[in-house]
């Protein structure tokens, strides 16, 4: 034993010595090469420099105009111009998202249908950290916040993103990206509010050695909304959050460390407040090699606590690690491959009405993916890829995809996308029982809901066709047509011969539609943006299905179409008038009427460091956005004011 153990130490020491030597030689050669290159480059003529083939390692993301996907980019500047009050409100800028405010703290947000507050087909990430809850595969929007002024962009991809992003990215991916600490230097104070909501945040950014940092605190609170028949919904909230972000770069390599912590009280009708709290810490590094390859590593720990009286108290910890490597193979192929591991401990204290059983679980997910972008011809790119994810419920799921992009000239892109997306089960599909302590007859517990022991993954096969063009510098537009076939959608069925109901996969659906948007710079001081989404969702139950899930289940909350028009007008260097007019068609499932909403935002840069905003909200009158009468929330005209002071 001892000998072999010593031997292994020697051999690894030998490896270390070998590798260190190799590395030292490599470094020496590299330096020597670099030295000679520097001189030779400067001695070339401009013509010669312009004729050298180069590899782009620029940190800026691949331009959206090159992406073979229905991707809409909301920039930090768009959010400022819109005068958005909160993160979910900022998402209204994306024409390819359905955003419906349910009450003061709940939103139903998705793309391409199946919308409800327990929506489960949209993947949402904040700086690479997944914020959907494995309890129900959806997002608790009442627990997510960022300092809006520090947002770099929000990438909204409608359609399947499973090949890159994995399970849950069935109908879309929302990628919220905050600015680098380098771009948020100095002090910023932002205070905003209306008669029903108030926000205040302070951020300070400075430098630290050869890097940068920022720290922030934010307070948010919202009054209860009122229902159509004049009652309070008791859904107001107060939430405090603090966080930091540090960024270092060395040459083209970058390193980020960031974290947030929050705590809040959310009202709930007839009970004590829901208490939420959480914290996360994330680190991400990106190494770019001169060969053109990039290695990215990301790891985070996330803690979430939600004590919801009369429902459950959840205490969840997540560890997530991801590695991604991008490299060029020859002149024609660009390969991205990676792997990920997620480990979750979920502790639930159940109450009387329903229970998640088992109450304590430890779960892990593992994935690998590979994607190859092949330049078939000068202007045609074929992308083949797949992700394989192992989940604790159904084992291995494959999410393959194929994309074809053709650029007839640099200003046009025609693309097609074929992919398979998967929503793997979450706890609500498998572990939900009601009531918690059922009567037992002949040793059989008489549950009214008895989990979903045989629930498997929901599947979608998605086909998309798109065209994007910038015919002249002032005009750009995009159109996407999609057709998706869903299978094994969740239904609630009789648990025969046992009592009660169970979750099964007994529905299928066809959806089709299109998404169009564009922008037009009419004059140098006036720009118009427009967007339209049309969709048709046909759900059919399989033979033998009784689906009793009703409103919590399938597609009840989706309008057939919605459109928006945004105008950005610079009255002068310091004054802007921006407005957004949007229409959302009626929702038959809820007997919800169509509505048109108009927001007008007057922004005045009082001095270079002080900006004052006034937003007239819902100027065309009150409207409702989700649910059935008379208990649904009604949103009234109001004035929202904001003051941003930066030093």
């Amino acid at each position: 034993m001892k000998t072999s153990s010593n031997h292994s130490v020697y051999s690894s020491a030998g490896r270390i010595f070998l590798s260190t030597t190799t590395w030292a030689i490599a470094l020496f050669v590299a330096c020597a090469n670099a030295e000679s290159r520097q001189h030779s480059l400067l001695d070339l003529s401009l013509e010669e420099l312009a004729s050298l083939p180069v590899i782009s390692v620029s940190k800026s993301a691949k331009p959206v105009s090159d992406s073979s996907a229905s991707i809409f980019l909301i920039t930090g500047n768009d959010i400022r111009k819109a005068g958005a009050a909160s993160l979910p409100e900022a998402l209204r800028l994306a024409p390819n998202l359905q955003v419906a405010q349910v009450d003061a703290r709940n939103y139903a947000i998705t793309a391409r249908g199946f919308n409800n507050p327990f929506e489960n087909k949209l993947l949402v990430m904040i700086d690479g950290r997944t914020v959907y809850s494995p309890l129900f595969s959806g997002v608790y929007w009442d627990a997510q916040d960022v300092v809006l002024e520090d947002l770099e962009r929000i990438e909204v991809v409608s359609g399947s993103g499973g090949t890159l992003w994995g399970a849950n990215a069935v109908n879309g991916v929302v990628n919220i990206v905050t600015r680098s600490a380098e771009d948020t230097q100095g002090t910023l104070v932002s205070v905003s509010g209306s008669d029903h909501e108030r926000y205040a945040s302070t951020r300070y950014g400075g430098s630290l050695g050869n890097g940068y940092y920022r720290v922030y605190v934010k307070h948010a609170q919202h009054e209860d909304t009122q229902t159509e028949n004049g009652f309070s919904t008791d859904t107001g909230f107060k939430r405090d959050q603090a966080g930091f972000r540090m960024d270092w770069s060395r040459g083209i390599d970058t390193f980020t460390l960031q974290g947030d912590a929050y705590s809040g009280r959310l009202q709930q009708r007839g009970t004590n407040d829901i208490e939420i709290s959480g914290a996360n810490i994330l680190t991400r590094g990106s190494l770019q090699f001169s060969s053109g390859s990039t290695l990215s590593l990301q790891a985070y720990i996330d803690h979430t606590q939600r004590d919801q009286p009369n429902a459950f108290a959840q205490n969840m910890n997540t560890l997530d690690i991801e590695i991604q490597h991008q490299l060029a193979m020859g002149n024609r192929q660009s390969i991205v491959w990676g792997a990920g591991y997620r480990y979750i401990t979920d502790r639930i204290d159940n109450e009387q009405n329903f229970a998640f059983l088992p109450d304590d679980v430890n779960m892990s997910w593992k994935n690998i993916f590979v994607q190859d972008e092949i330049s078939v011809a000068e202007n045609i790119k074929l992308t083949l890829g797949s992700k394989w994810e192992n989940n604790p419920y159904t084992g291995l799921e494959a999410m393959p995809g194929m994309k074809l992009g053709w650029k007839p000239d640099p200003t046009k892109l025609v693309w097609a996308n074929l992919s398979r997306a998967v929503r793997s089960p979450s706890r609500i599909d498998r572990d939900l029982y009601a009531p918690t302590n059922p009567p037992v007859v002949n040793d059989i517990p008489q549950y009214s809901i008895a989990g979903g022991p045989n629930f498997v993954s929901e599947i979608a096969n998605v086909f998309e066709l798109g065209y994007r063009s910038q015919p002249v510098a002032r005009v750009s537009w995009s159109i996407t047509a999609f057709y998706s076939e869903y299978d094994k959608l969740r239904t609630l069925e009789l648990n025969t011969p046992a009592p009660g109901l169970v979750f099964k996969n007994m529905a299928e659906a066809d959806t089709y539609g299109m998404e169009v948007w564009g922008s037009w710079q009419i004059f140098s001081d006036w720009r118009l943006h427009g967007g339209l989404a049309v969709q048709k969702i046909d759900v059919t139950l399989k033979p033998g299905s009784m689906d009793l899930s009703n409103t919590t289940g399938l597609a009840n909350g989706d309008p057939d179409y919605s459109w928006m028009l945004r105008s950005e007008y610079n009255v002068s260097d310091r004054i802007e008038i921006n407005s957004m007019l949007r229409y959302v068609d009626k929702v038959d499932g809820f007997n919800l009427p169509a509505y048109t909403a108009l927001d007008i935002h007057l922004s005045w840069e009082v001095t270079s460091s002080l900006q004052l905003s006034l937003v007239g909200q819902n100027l065309l009158g009150e409207h409702t956005e989700f649910g059935t009468a008379p208990g649904r929330s009604e949103f009234e005209p109001g004035v929202f004011a904001k003051l941003v002071w930066s030093l």
Binding site: S5, A26, L41, L49, S51, S56
Partner: protein
């Protein structure tokens, strides 16, 4: 994975504690060794390929020789050229490395970087990276007074306020030139420079 790790520990704990440590450190040592090997090699091969920022840095240096500024932009005939880089540490570092002992028109070259407009002092060339483009409106007002040769890297081409814009065409770095903006800022560009440009924007009368 965690479960596996625990099993292995309980299995080996009977043998000896030091064995566990060695076997773990062996794995780590091997991992690090491999990573160093891989990265070491890739860093070596690295230098055979050119990176976009290296060529951009070399071109920025070249632009100095093909442009002329109003006399009042120099305190004397030997005062240095200054290049200010906004938001591109890679280009700044590369420039600092390569121009150290270089002289153009009897002038040495100084490289600065700035995180905001106020930090741009007396620059002759201002390089604005794509993520700092939002500063262009304010910067161009300043450039009219101070004759900055503003260089950008917008993938779609020239942006308002920029005189030269780098653009990748067929895996090569090319550039567009706006003579209109150059005239507005009081900078003259040599015909040699114009002859290499992909496109030239001229004033139409």
């Amino acid at each position: 994975m965690l479960v596996l790790g625990i099993h292995r520990q309980t299995a080996t704990v009977k043998i000896s504690r030091s064995r566990i440590v060695t076997s773990h450190s062996k794995v780590w040592l091997f991992l690090f060794a491999s990573i160093f090997l891989i990265f070491g090699f890739s860093k070596t091969y690295a230098q055979q390929t050119l990176l976009d920022y290296q060529v951009k840095a070399a071109m920025l240096y070249k632009f100095l020789g093909y442009s002329s500024w109003p006399d009042n932009r120099f305190s004397d005939s030997h005062s240095p050229y200054r290049i200010c880089v906004l938001g591109a540490d890679d280009i700044r570092n590369e420039l600092q490395d390569i121009v150290a002992d270089r002289v153009i028109n009897n002038r040495s070259i100084e490289i600065h970087s700035a995180a905001s407009i106020d930090q741009i002092v007396d620059a002759h060339i201002v390089f604005v990276s794509s993520r700092m483009e939002k500063l262009l409106p304010k910067l161009s007002a300043l450039a009219e007074k101070n004759s900055f040769l503003i260089v950008t890297e917008n993938t779609h081409g020239l942006v308002p306020g920029s005189i030269i814009n780098f653009r990748m065409v067929d895996k090569r770095i090319g550039f567009d030139i706006s003579l209109v903006t150059a005239q507005d800022y009081g900078i003259s560009l040599s015909s040699r420079l114009l002859s290499v440009a992909i496109s030239i924007k001229e004033r139409r009368y």
